[in-house]
Each structure stands twice: as C-alpha cells, then as structure tokens.
C-alpha cells in the first residue's frame, strides 16, 4: 500500500528487501526477524554441540594433524566413565574408590555446585532482606552488595589468591593455626576447593539476592500488614508468607545458579589453584585438549558428558518442582 509512495530508496538491494519485508505476513515477518539470532545461535552453539558429539565418537589421534582417528562409537564414553582413559589428567569419576574425592572431576563439580548454591541462597536471602527495606543510604548498600558480582573472574581469582597467600594474606595463618588448612592451602586439593567455593559465594551471592529481591517485591504488602496485626513475628511472617510465595522464583534462581556453578573454570585458574588441584568438568575438557596429550576426542567426550550432566540436573529440578506440593503456585 505504502510501497509506491516511498521515494528516494531507488532500486538498491536495501530498498528491495525493505519493500519485500513490507509485504510479508506478520508470521513470516517474525521469522525473518528471528533469523539472524537463530543463525548465530546455530553456528556458535548448536553446530559446535553437534560436532562435539561427533568428534567424541572417534578415537584420539595424538600425533597427526587430523586430531581424530577411526570411528569407535561410544567406546570413549565407556572408557571415561570406567576410568580406563589414560589420557585424562584426572578421572571424571572413579567407582573403585581408588581416587581421592577431590581428584574426581564430577564429584568436585557437583560438590562445588551444591555447596555454593546452598550458601548463596542463604546469604542471598539476608542480602535481599536488607536491600528490600527503606532507610537512608540504601542506594549505597545496594551498590556495595552488587559490586562483587560485577568484578571480573580474573580479579576475583587474584583477590583470593592474595587473601590465602601464606606470606601476604591474612586468612591463611589463622586457618592453619586452628588446623583447618595446611601450610600452602592453594596447592592442597581440599583446601583449594574450599577457597574456590568461598570465592564463588563471595562473588555470586548478590545475583541470588537480586532474584530473591524481585520475588519479595512481587508479594502483596497487605499480607504483611494483616500478619502483623495478627501478631506474627518477623520470622513467622517470613516462614508463612514470604517463603511460600517466592518459592517458584527461588527455584528458578537456584536452577540458574546450579547450571552456572557447574561450568566453573575461571576462578580455578585465576586463583592460582589450577586445574590439577581442583579438577572441575570444564577444567578436565581444557586440560585434555591443551595438556601434554592434545586428545581432542577424549576432550569432546568429557565436554558432551558435561552438557548431558547439566541437562540431567535441569530435568531433575523441573521434576522436583512438579512433584513438590508448592509447585502448584507456578
């Protein structure tokens, strides 16, 4: 309709495609607009994911330029899961019990995810509570609480490297004195695991707090007034009003954090602990690919297993949410 009136566009490809777009149905126009985003996501996420899976079905070729050899089907998966792959710097999991807990990538990653998410949720509640109240200087309290979240992983790593450094840091000596830490905590797997977990809690609690805060602010204020008149203490108000009403939002926030925690890599490298000391799943992928062996197929196997494990965690969360009596709120 308006096409003929428009002048000054000429017959350049731009104007032709603009004209073409004018005449599309709403549905086709939507698909055209979505095309660039899905092209990027396909090229950078779906294709690599598919190719990672394909590479994992071939054998490692350590010395050639091709990186992969003949087709072996699921053999890589069997070898990795039964700890039969000599190319891995640390086992993914060792069912025989011959490997210490903190040297098994899957256990380290799961333990890290569970511990950090639990503590971040608890601290997040506290932080969300103080961010929700009205008082002078609240803006600056908010800024201070968000600040750790906005700090680059490499700087967070450097900070905790220094805090627990035996000579410059002040946290190492007292913890060593009470017998919790050894003399050089960043080289001990269990101590470094604690440091990495604390570092993550320090940085990411704020994210949890913001999501909980959003949930809190959506709760109808009059409910609290009623409860107060009825004589409920703040704790009771929290237990019987806040918690059930923000439960769905809380589950979503915990799911997000769990997924994110299971990707842990940067803080391990940047804190000086290193992937040999705290072997997470992502660490194992990078180590297998760039270590002394350059085993691409084995690395791809672990990468795809990592994605699968995360998918299982997501499904587990969704099932738990469906089954829980409070799930009906959503």
């Amino acid at each position: 309709m308006a096409t003929e009136q428009r002048q000054g566009y000429g017959f350049s490809p731009v104007s032709r495609s603009l004209n073409w777009m004018e005449n599309l149905s709403e549905e086709s126009y939507a698909y055209v607009l979505l095309a660039p985003a899905f092209a990027v996501l396909t090229a950078i996420a779906l294709w690599p994911l598919w190719r990672t899976f394909r590479v994992s079905l071939f054998e490692d070729n350590l010395f050639g330029t091709a990186k992969t050899g003949g087709f072996v089907g699921l053999e890589n998966y069997v070898n990795v899961l039964t700890n039969q792959n000599p190319l891995l710097s640390r086992p993914l999991i060792d069912f025989t019990g011959g490997t210490p807990f903190f040297r098994q990538a899957l256990l380290v990653t799961l333990a890290f995810a569970i511990l950090s998410v639990v503590f971040e949720t608890l601290i997040g509640f506290g932080q969300a509570y103080i961010m929700s109240k009205e008082y002078r200087g609240r803006r600056w309290v908010r800024v201070s609480i968000i600040l750790p979240w906005a700090i680059a992983i490499v700087i967070q790593g450097m900070l905790f490297f220094l805090l627990f450094n035996p000579s410059v840091g002040f946290l190492s000596d007292p913890l060593q004195w009470i017998g919790l830490f050894g003399s050089n905590p960043l080289t001990s797997s269990s101590n470094a695991f604690v440091i990495v977990t604390v570092a993550d809690i320090w940085k990411t609690s704020a994210f949890m707090a913001l999501l909980i805060l959003a949930g809190m602010q959506s709760v109808d204020k009059s409910l609290y007034d009623v409860a107060e008149v009825a004589g409920a203490s703040p704790l009771q108000r929290f237990r019987h009003i806040t918690l059930p009403l923000i439960f769905p939002a809380l589950m979503v926030a915990m799911l997000f954090r769990t997924i994110d925690a299971m990707r842990i890599y940067g803080i391990i490298e940047a804190s000086g602990a290193g992937c040999g000391t705290v072997p997470s799943l992502s660490c194992l992928v990078v180590d297998t690919m760039f270590g002394t062996t350059q085993a691409y197929a084995s690395a791809a196997t672990i990468a795809f297993l990592t994605a699968t494990i995360i998918a299982l965690v997501i499904v587990g969360y969704l099932v738990a949410l469906k089954l829980s009596p409070r799930g009906s709120y959503q």
Partner: protein, 312 residues
C-alpha cells in the same frame, strides 16, 4: 545487643544505661529488630567491601615489605605500583582490547537481540513458545561444550567444501563471536519484556505516517524502550568484560595479539619476580571501570537481571 553486653556491664551495681536499654527493648521489640537489622547490614558491607579495601592496601604497600603481610593499613607506603603496572606490561593495551571486545559484542548483541526481542515481544506467530524455550535451553549449555569445534574452526583446523575460514584465533572475532552467542539469550529476554510493554497505538501511528516496518522498530520501539536497551547493553558489556573462559582460551598472552585484561592480570602471577603490590594494583585499575558502571547504573542492573532471569 552483644556489643551492649560487653560495653555496658561494669559490675554488680544497679545499671543505668544498659538496664534502660533492656527495659525499652522489652517494651518495644521493634527497636531490637532495628538494631539487629543494622548489625546485619554492617556485616554484609564488611564482607563485600573489606576484601577490596584490603586489595587497595596491598597496592599501596612498599614492594620490598609487602610480603611481611598487609593488614588494615599498608605495610610501608608506595603508591608507585600504580605507575609501575603500566611499565612492566602494556596494561593499557590489555584494557583497550577488553573494551573493544565488550563494545563490539554489545553492539552486535543489541542489534540482533532487538530484532528477535521485537518478534518475541510484539508479533504473533506459530512456534513462539518453542523458539523462546530453545533460546533458553541454549543459554544453559556450558561454554566447554561449544569450545572444541570453535577452537578448531578459529585456528583453521576445519574446512568447509575445501574452503578454510580465516584465522580468528587471537583476533577480536575469536572472542566476540562466541560471546555474542552466549550472552544473546539474556539480552533477548530483557528486550522481549521491554518491547512487549510499548502500546500498539504508538507503533501504528508511525506506520500510518509511512515508516517502514524496520523503521518503526528502530525509530519508535527502540527509543521508547531506551531503559531496556541500556539495561541489556550494560549487562552484556559487564559480562563480556568479566568473562574468563573464551577470553583466556581464544587469545594468546601478548597484548599485541589482542589478549584482553584476563591475560594482563594473569601474567603478574606467572612472572619470575613475585610482586604482590603490582598484582593488587593491576586488579584495582581493572575493577574501576566496572565499579563506576555499577555505581551509575545500579537501578538498571537490578531491574535487568531480575526481569531477564524471571521471564521463564
């Protein structure tokens, strides 16, 4: 309350201030809650801010005495480390590279996510829920599961139909392209929310005046959703600036090879001579830009993270 217990109980004498305080606290429990509340506020402020304060004290310490340990005050005083960090390595170049990555990714993500956000937020079409869910699911996958093929692609180990793509390893493309895909889902969710809130009438009016469909998006919807676009942009910028995985693995270690701030700071850990004061100073310099952004755009960050994340 615990502070009061320690300070105000001298001996068995009938007490003045403390007893009064207890009496009033019993009569007025709100007062106790208030006092406890501010204790909690101070506790959280200390845990989040003290490590950064302490980092500054290390940076200000004398380089020869810093390994004696640093407490509340610098050990010796030498602010020269803030100059030296730029002399030892080209820290400004690393910072510049990080800014380039973050800016390019933000522009790229905002344009593409605007188109997608408009479609999701304002148009009706079949498969909308499925496609939105696909975006969400993609954002769940770990970078490690994309990394191997992308690394091979960017370092010219893969060819398509006999064509080898240009080498993107150690160029802005090697970082910007993967990070665009990884941070696009959040931007799409934020923009979908904001674009969906603009009344239809405003867009219809522009269309009647003869604006093209795309023109209506970029001249009407985007300006009207400026806060949303700013939110998505700020979050993407911070996320890219702070990112570790691709920034570290897709670039070499030298600033001349487009290494971002990640490599600049890490290089202080691997240096022959251990200089704690320089590590701290470099970290602080690298934090400052984001810290300013957080102070200025606190509201937007809060609203963006919550609206984007709670969409599904």
């Amino acid at each position: 309350m615990s502070q009061a217990t320690q300070q105000e109980r001298p001996d068995d004498e009938p007490r003045g201030a403390f007893t009064n305080w207890v009496d009033s606290a019993i009569k007025n429990p709100e007062k106790v809650y208030r006092a406890m509340f501010f204790v909690v506020v101070i506790f959280f402020l200390l845990t989040t801010l003290f490590p950064l304060y302490w980092l500054t004290m290390i940076a200000l310490s004398d380089s020869n005495r810093v390994s004696e340990g640093v407490g509340l005050l610098p050990t010796g005083f030498d602010p020269g480390s803030f100059v030296e960090i730029f002399q030892q390595i080209p820290l400004h170049l690393y910072l510049f590279n990080s800014f380039v990555f973050a800016t390019l990714t933000t522009i790229f993500v905002l344009i593409i996510a605007s188109l997608a956000g408009y479609a999701f937020g304002r148009l009706q079409f079949r498969g909308k829920r499925t496609l939105l869910l696909t975006v969400l699911v993609i954002s769940f996958f770990p970078p490690a599961s994309f990394f191997i093929p992308l690394f091979q692609l960017f370092s010219q180990q893969i060819s398509f139909l006999g064509l080898t793509p240009p080498e993107l390893y150690s160029t802005p493309g090697g970082v910007v392209i993967p990070l665009s895909a990884i941070f696009m889902p959040l931007a799409i969710f934020i923009l979908t929310t904001f674009y969906g809130q603009i009344p239809d009438g405003l867009e219809d009016a522009a269309r009647i005046e003869g604006t093209t469909r795309l023109g209506a998006l970029f001249r009407v919807i985007v300006p009207l959703s400026a806060p949303g676009v700013a939110t998505a942009g700020i979050l993407t910028f911070i996320a890219v600036y702070n990112e570790f995985f691709f920034s570290f693995l897709m670039t070499g270690a030298q600033a001349q090879d487009w290494a971002p701030i990640v490599d600049g700071i890490i290089s202080y850990q691997s240096q022959f001579q251990i200089r704690y004061d320089l590590m701290a100073a470099a970290s602080i310099v690298a934090v400052v830009p984001v810290a300013i952004l957080v102070v200025v755009a606190q509201e937007k960050i809060v609203s963006g993270l919550t609206s984007g994340a709670l969409k599904e």
